[in-house]
């Protein structure tokens, strides 16, 4: 699941001081003790997604949203993901996609500008991300407005149930209720366990292990071959990040035999 399940939320939500006024910026990450282990974990549930985390970092760094220092924010973002690695990677799926976007953006920002292009023709590579952040911010603010409304609504009470209501034990239904009811009947009728096909999610740690093994066993690995094993966009992002990780820890190094040739990985000696 790419989102903290609802059932886990109270532990988080209980400690959040929800703003009473419209406060757009993200919330603060928090360290909580996991009752099942001795580790302290960072609760990512507080960030409602990568955009939320980005907004938080932008606010924390007090930088202009229209002129994001991509390198700095990207580093911050990645170090955040580092801390998340102990968490279930499935939770971080969308966070990884954003990591890839940021890294790509960082690269683009490093490229020299086309000296012949007119200044106004140049599109800021950050443009799309900024738009996305601004759009997201609006809905984040709208969510707070809804929260305020619900809070006010909590001060208003309707009459208790009358016998006339109770004698109409009826339900308002939508199509999903219809489906749910139908499923319940089938389950009741057949009492048959549905075969669940697990959608396998490979974690960052597993991907790094896979990369390590592939490089070790052949001495040299064509990254294209490695990337082609990825079966989903998410897996591809994880694969990409694992390469970055092993390069960063200088466990492997990358090289090309010719300009524009295949990128190969080798155990760093």
């Amino acid at each position: 699941m790419d989102e903290t399940p609802e059932s886990l939320e109270p532990a988080v939500a209980g400690d959040v001081n929800l703003p009473t006024t419209l406060n757009v910026a993200g919330s603060t990450p928090e360290l909580v003790a996991d009752i099942h282990s001795d580790d302290l974990k960072i609760v990512m549930g507080e960030f409602d997604g990568p955009l939320d985390l980005l907004l938080h970092l932008i606010r924390q760094e007090q930088v202009n949203i229209y002129d994001i220092p991509v390198a700095r924010i990207t580093d911050q973002y990645l170090s955040y993901l580092q801390q998340m690695q102990n968490l279930d990677m499935a939770v971080a799926g969308d966070f990884l996609v954003m990591a890839a976007t940021l890294i790509e953006l960082k690269t683009k920002m490093l490229l020299p500008r086309d000296p012949f292009a007119a200044a106004e023709d140049e599109v800021d590579p950050r443009h799309e991300l900024v738009d996305q952040l601004l759009e997201y911010q609006k809905y984040k603010a709208a969510a707070q407005m809804l929260w305020s409304r619900a809070t006010v609504e909590r001060a208003v009470f309707k009459r208790a149930e009358l016998e006339t209501d109770k004698n109409n034990p009826e339900v308002v239904v939508g199509v999903f209720d219809l489906l749910k009811v139908f499923q319940d009947i089938l389950a009741r009728h057949k009492d048959e366990v549905l075969l669940e096909i697990e959608r396998e999610e490979i974690s960052m740690a597993e991907m790094i292990e896979r990369l390590r093994n592939m490089v070790m066993s052949s001495g040299e690995l064509n990254l294209r071959v490695f990337f082609e094993r990825a079966r989903s966009r998410r897996e591809l992002v994880v694969a990409f990040l694992s390469v970055l990780e092993l390069v960063r820890t200088t466990e492997i190094r990358l090289f090309q035999r010719e300009t524009f040739g295949e990128i190969l990985a080798r155990v760093a000696s």
């Binding site: 699941m1 929260w147 619900a150 809070t151 006010v152 909590r154 199509v175 219809l178 489906l179 499923q183």
Partner: protein, 226 residues
């Protein structure tokens, strides 16, 4: 009408800050207070300021109470003398009687409750009878679900799936025009087959039956993979 309601809106906008302190992200479900449990802390209400306010609070409490409410209980909540509360109630009763309201405040089983005035019982009765209902009982809903997903289907086949006889549900659904007869099945006894109607599509906001959610749609939501 809009003028009138607008002022309500502003009136309600007052109190967010004072409410927010207690609140987590909580939505009042309409019935949620029915079986409520005590939270214990900070439930001490403000002291009542005036007779007018006292009456208003008494009115509110009687209104939300699911049982006739006696002066003693109200006095306990407001931490006031029972006689003061009794005076408030008497004044309220008089007020509701005086304004020829559709509601009355009356004493039943040792407590006070609101009720509609008997003079208007015919209108109330007509209303309750008339009240259009897009609602279904659970039994009817189950039958409808089976028909929607398995149509055309006969009554014995529905019994097979639900494990319960559904004759009255079938009648209800036919009455509500949510299902229609779809000819007879070429089988012993030539039983009638049923399917969903155009009215069904309209009520559930569907263009056609292919818009019904599938098991996959649901499982995707349930398993978190979409």
């Amino acid at each position: 009408m809009n003028e009138v309601t607008k002022q309500q809106g502003t009136e309600q906008a007052v109190d967010v800050d004072s409410l927010a302190g207690e609140a987590e992200l909580e939505l009042a479900s309409r019935e949620s207070f029915a079986g409520a449990e005590d939270e214990g802390a900070d439930l001490t209400p403000l002291a009542v300021q005036s007779m007018g306010e006292r009456k208003a609070i008494i009115e509110a409490l009687i209104y939300v109470s699911d049982e006739p409410l006696n002066a003693k209980s109200i006095a306990e909540v407001l931490k006031e003398d029972q006689s003061v509360i009794e005076a408030g109630i008497a004044s309220l009763v008089e007020e509701f009687n005086g304004r020829n309201s559709g509601l009355q405040l009356r004493e039943v089983a040792g407590g006070w409750q609101f009720a509609t005035r008997p003079e208007y019982h015919e209108h109330v009765r007509a209303f309750l009878k008339w009240k259009p209902s897009a609602k279904l009982s659970l039994a009817s809903l189950e039958t409808l679900a089976v028909i929607a997903y398995k149509q055309p289907i006969t009554v014995p086949e529905i019994l097979d799936i639900r494990g319960v006889q559904s004759p009255s549900s079938i009648k209800t659904l036919l009455d509500k025009k949510l299902i229609v007869a779809k000819g007879r099945k070429e089988a012993i006894g030539r039983p009638m087959m049923y399917g969903t109607s155009k009215e069904f599509l309209i009520q559930f906001g569907l263009k056609d039956l292919s818009e019904l959610p599938s098991i996959e749609d649901f499982e995707d939501l349930a398993s978190g993979v979409v």
